[in-house]
């Protein structure tokens, strides 16, 4: 099918005004938050599941590559159409379909911005727990595709633990319901398999999300340390002592300085790192838990521990953390965020190795990450206009992932494999493992039209 025909046929499905194919349009949808670029042949914006089904059927019949896009904030190239084809942009499908507080669920369309949904639910005292730092911009659909994380995963789990059902469109346009409001539906956990599948198996057009009641009480603390090692040891000990905070985040000196330039949180500019620790739940016993945490901090040479006095102070602390990635733009124009995850107890040694690797490749690294679940985010800062720096960045990133894999961890905690980590995937999977994953892909998409070239390397590529 030539592009003109494709544009026309899509126009018949969604209306011509919802099909984008000009040069400028295609350029605008050729990039996401990764360092990759590629143009689609056309961008289409459906409004209903039925339209998505027809679009998929059209792609299937015409053997046209097809992928879904929310806000394009993913960091690994998941939304880059490397084989061209159709980008299905879900911006119009952004509704709350049904709120069901008695069942503690809300059903949404994929294009809804995560924070918008959360703000709406909070009005009635309910929380959708997964809170990726991108939540102001990213969509539930995007979170679904990547199995996004966020600071609250330590206690509450990731996106996959909070999506209990979905309506999905298969490669040939068939619409099916997976899971449901009851979590005991007999059969394979297809929802669990699809979440985090990076758009390579199906497109989700509705998601049933789990809600929890807003916690009764919060306690948010910051702890300032003179060395990264003290901070990392504190993280380990808090968990070992039997306390599971709602969040346990770490930021190092480079990131703190960058944040302070834009958001005046009050971070000391001469400390090695800060921990942000939040408890939530019933207030009974919370004071005791907070005191235990402060005692652990003191045992590890903490300079200072501060408790947020009220919601306003708590909000500022969190603004600092959530704005961290954005603020490093002042240090260097570009960054590559690694997403290696290691068992928590390995944090001190792995962090030391990461810092050493940065020195070896001569690139500054800022660390801001979910210390509580061992999910590192070394931000390699560079200027992508410098080809030598770009080259070293990829080498350093690969080296960091190897450090994580060797420490018993994995190459992606929450950002996905996408394009970015296709080579590194064999740090954690054998050829037999990869072949099994290809079989799963085969069950859903034998023609390899759904987001091709992502997540699982082709058989030839894996043989290094």
């Amino acid at each position: 099918m030539d592009r003109q025909t494709l544009v026309q046929r899509l126009g018949e499905i969604v209306g011509a005004e919802h099909v984008l194919s000009s040069d400028m349009d295609l350029e605008l949808y050729s990039y996401d938050s990764s360092l990759e670029k590629a143009r689609p042949d056309v961008v289409v914006m459906p409004d209903t599941t039925e339209e998505v089904s027809k679009i998929m059927a059209l792609a299937h019949a015409g053997k046209i590559p097809i992928l879904g896009r929310g806000s394009g904030t993913n960091l690994t190239g998941g939304t880059i159409p490397i084989k061209g084809g159709i980008v299905v942009h879900f911006s119009r499908m952004n509704r709350i379909v049904e709120v069901d507080f008695p069942n503690r669920t809300v059903t949404v369309e994929p294009g809804i911005i995560t924070l918008d949904l959360q703000t709406e639910m909070l009005k009635d005292g309910f929380v959708y727990a997964p809170d990726p730092a991108s939540q102001k911009v990213s969509t539930i659909g995007g979170n679904f595709g990547e199995d996004s994380g966020g600071p609250h995963c330590l206690k509450y789990g990731t996106t996959s633990n909070h999506i209990i059902g979905a309506e999905v469109v298969l490669n040939d346009g068939t619409v099916v319901q997976t899971g449901g409001k009851s979590q005991d539906k007999p059969g394979y956990d297809l929802t669990g398999l699809l979440v985090g599948s990076e758009g390579t198996l199906a497109l989700a057009t509705k998601m049933i999300l789990k809600l929890i009641k807003s916690p009764e009480a919060f306690k948010t603390m910051t702890a300032i340390f003179e060395t990264i090692e003290d901070g990392a040891n504190t993280v380990s000990e808090i968990i070992s002592e039997g306390i599971i905070p709602a969040t346990l985040e770490m930021m190092d000196n480079i990131v703190m300085k960058a944040v302070e330039k834009t958001i005046k949180v009050g971070y000391p500019l001469d400390a090695a790192c800060v921990l942000i620790i939040e408890l939530d739940g019933m207030p009974d016993g919370m004071d005791k838990k907070a005191e235990m945490i402060m005692e652990i901090c003191r045992r590890n040479n903490v300079r200072e521990v501060k408790l947020a006095k009220d919601n306003a102070e708590r909000a500022i602390l969190w603004a600092g953390r959530k704005g961290a990635f954005g603020s490093v733009g002042q240090v260097r124009p570009s960054y590559l965020c690694c997403d290696g995850t290691v068992p928590r107890t390995k944090l001190p040694e792995v962090l030391a190795k990461v810092i050493a690797a940065g020195k070896e490749w001569n690139l500054p690294i800022g660390n801001v990450f979910h210390a509580g679940d061992g999910n590192l985010h070394p931000l390699i800062m560079f200027d992508e206009r410098d080809p030598d720096e770009l080259h070293r960045v990829h080498k350093l990133s690969s080296a960091i992932l190897k450090i994580c894999a060797d420490a018993g961890g994995t190459i992606s905690g929450e950002h996905g494999v996408g394009l970015e980590k296709l080579k590194e995937i064999h740090f954690v999977f054998s050829e037999a493992d990869l072949e099994y994953q290809r079989n799963i892909k085969q069950a859903f998409d034998p023609e390899s039209l759904l987001n091709p070239g992502k997540m699982i390397p082709e058989a030839e590529e894996a043989v290094q």
Binding site: G408, N439, I440
Partner: protein
């Protein structure tokens, strides 16, 4: 078809002569719905499982995996059964990492042994160590470092279940209310696929999005895709305080009103159950002093910091009194632990006197719980069917044992089950028959009613087990 003696020899070459059983006295103990396997093998590790499965493929043999056998009655009778692969010898705890709150265990490790291994040096354990009965063959882990954590799964048949079976059956229980489900606790898995390849997914980290989430695919797959060999699971620190509150009610409306009030608050109990008098009688074999069970009993498990437990106890007692509770009792930790163990063992208890029973597990969106239970009670009473009823009130699950004895009861029971399924479906729920006399299985909706996603499940089964080696015919819709 392979010559039996040759098959025995070839299997013996893989697992050792002592670990292939073909004698009927042994193999009949592993019959599934009356079908006896040709042989039972006991591999000692993942590699041997892989070789057995590869061998089975080469000889076109059908396999059913077997852990403790506590859930083996689930599913349709197998359309073919040649080998039972029993994981009993795969009972090693490969990595107990208390500081990381993870444990990696082989599939044949008994649930009880995991909890025992995680106890503190002074024997504080999530399960009542002093009450645990194990026979001489089991490996009891006596070496315990200062731990003080637990595996937060609350499976049925806890005394018999292996971790592999728990994961394969997606077993959960009352305390899923606080601790979530096996799918939320599993971090990594290693299994032997239908073609005999050893496949790994996930690992020790709490977060992991590398590759497809195959662990989730395997949870609840009930032996239809492969043999689970090893899994890594999340642990939690032992709660500071643990106790159980028991409340008795004469009317369902009072009991449900009390439960509604609990869920209106922001209190965080570990479990809120409702059970009928029959169920309570089976669980508490002796009486609880001063506690007279009414028509319904609501046990509440509290597991938290002491202050939180104190507050929950005080507030709930008040709420219960205001809801016309006729009796109350508090079980301290020493009684709390065996109580929940006994709740898990309800079905085996019922089995003792009612081998011909039907066990139905109903599921439904949680908001429908009252109507479903009222309907169930009415339908069973109308059919004159004696039954135990136990529901996880906050989780949308209800377990019913229809305690039928004579053949005459069977039609009534089948009719009641059919009604219950219809009612659950109406509320967007379903039901599963976990246990029934073999002769009745044909007439019962073993896996309830399949949904629109059956088309995907078929694709998966056909792609990942094209030769239908693994538990053929047992799964949903006969997959």
């Amino acid at each position: 078809m392979a010559d039996p003696a040759q098959m025995t020899d070839e299997l013996a070459a893989i697992v050792g002569q002592d670990f292939v059983k073909t004698d009927p006295t042994e193999t009949t103990q592993f019959s599934i719905d009356g079908i006896v396997p040709k042989a039972v093998v006991y591999p000692k590790n993942t590699r041997q499982v892989s070789e057995v499965v590869k061998y089975a493929n080469s000889k076109n043999l059908a396999i059913v995996p077997w852990g403790g056998g506590s859930k083996i009655t689930m599913g349709h009778p197998p359309t073919r059964l040649d080998l039972v692969v029993c994981t009993r010898r795969m009972n090693h705890m490969k990595d107990v990492d208390v500081s990381n709150l993870t444990v990696t265990v082989e599939a044949g490790v008994k649930f009880l042994d995991i909890q025992a291994r995680l106890a503190t040096e002074d024997d504080r354990c999530y399960l009542p160590l002093e009450d645990l009965i194990t026979d001489g063959n089991e490996m009891i882990c006596s070496d315990r470092s200062h731990s003080g954590c637990f595996l937060p799964i609350d499976p049925p048949c806890p005394t018999r279940a292996t971790i592999g079976g728990i994961i394969a059956a997606d077993s959960s229980g009352p305390r899923r209310l606080l601790y979530t489900l096996p799918r939320d606790l599993i971090l990594g898995i290693r299994f032997v696929a239908a073609d005999g390849e050893i496949i790994g997914s996930g690992g020790k980290t709490v977060k992991n999005v590398s590759g497809y989430d195959i662990s989730k695919l395997m949870v609840g797959s009930a032996g239809s895709l492969g043999i689970l060999c090893e899994m890594t699971l999340r642990l939690l620190p032992l709660p500071e305080a643990m106790e159980t509150l028991l409340f008795s009610f004469d009317a369902f409306a009072d009991a449900s009103g009390f439960i509604d009030r609990i869920f209106d608050t922001q209190l965080l109990p570990a479990a809120v159950e409702i059970m009928n008098r029959n169920a309570f009688g089976k669980i508490m074999r002796g009486a609880v002093s001063g506690f007279q069970a009414g028509a319904f009993v609501v046990p509440v498990a509290l597991e938290a910091f002491q202050e939180a437990v104190d507050r929950m106890r005080n507030e709930m007692k008040k709420m219960a009194a205001e809801s016309n509770a006729t009796a109350e009792a508090v079980l301290p930790e020493t009684e709390h632990r065996p109580f929940w163990l006994a709740v898990g063992d309800l079905n085996p208890s019922v089995a003792e006197n009612h081998p011909g029973r039907i066990t139905a597990r109903l599921n439904y969106p949680v908001a429908a719980w009252k109507e479903i239970i009222e309907y169930a009670e009415a339908a069973l009473e109308e059919g004159g069917i004696d039954h135990t009823l136990l529901a996880h009130a906050g989780s949308g699950v209800c377990l019913i044992n229809l305690m039928i004895t004579g053949n005459g009861d069977r039609d009534q029971a089948a009719d009641a089950v059919s009604k219950l399924l219809k009612r659950c479906l109406k509320s967007h729920g379903n039901l599963v028959i976990e246990q029934a006399p073999v002769e009745m299985k044909q007439k019962l909706p073993i896996w309830g009613e399949a949904g629109s996603d059956l088309v995907v499940m078929k694709r998966i089964k056909q792609t990942l087990d094209p030769r239908n080696v693994m538990s053929p015919g047992r799964y949903v819709a006969g997959l």
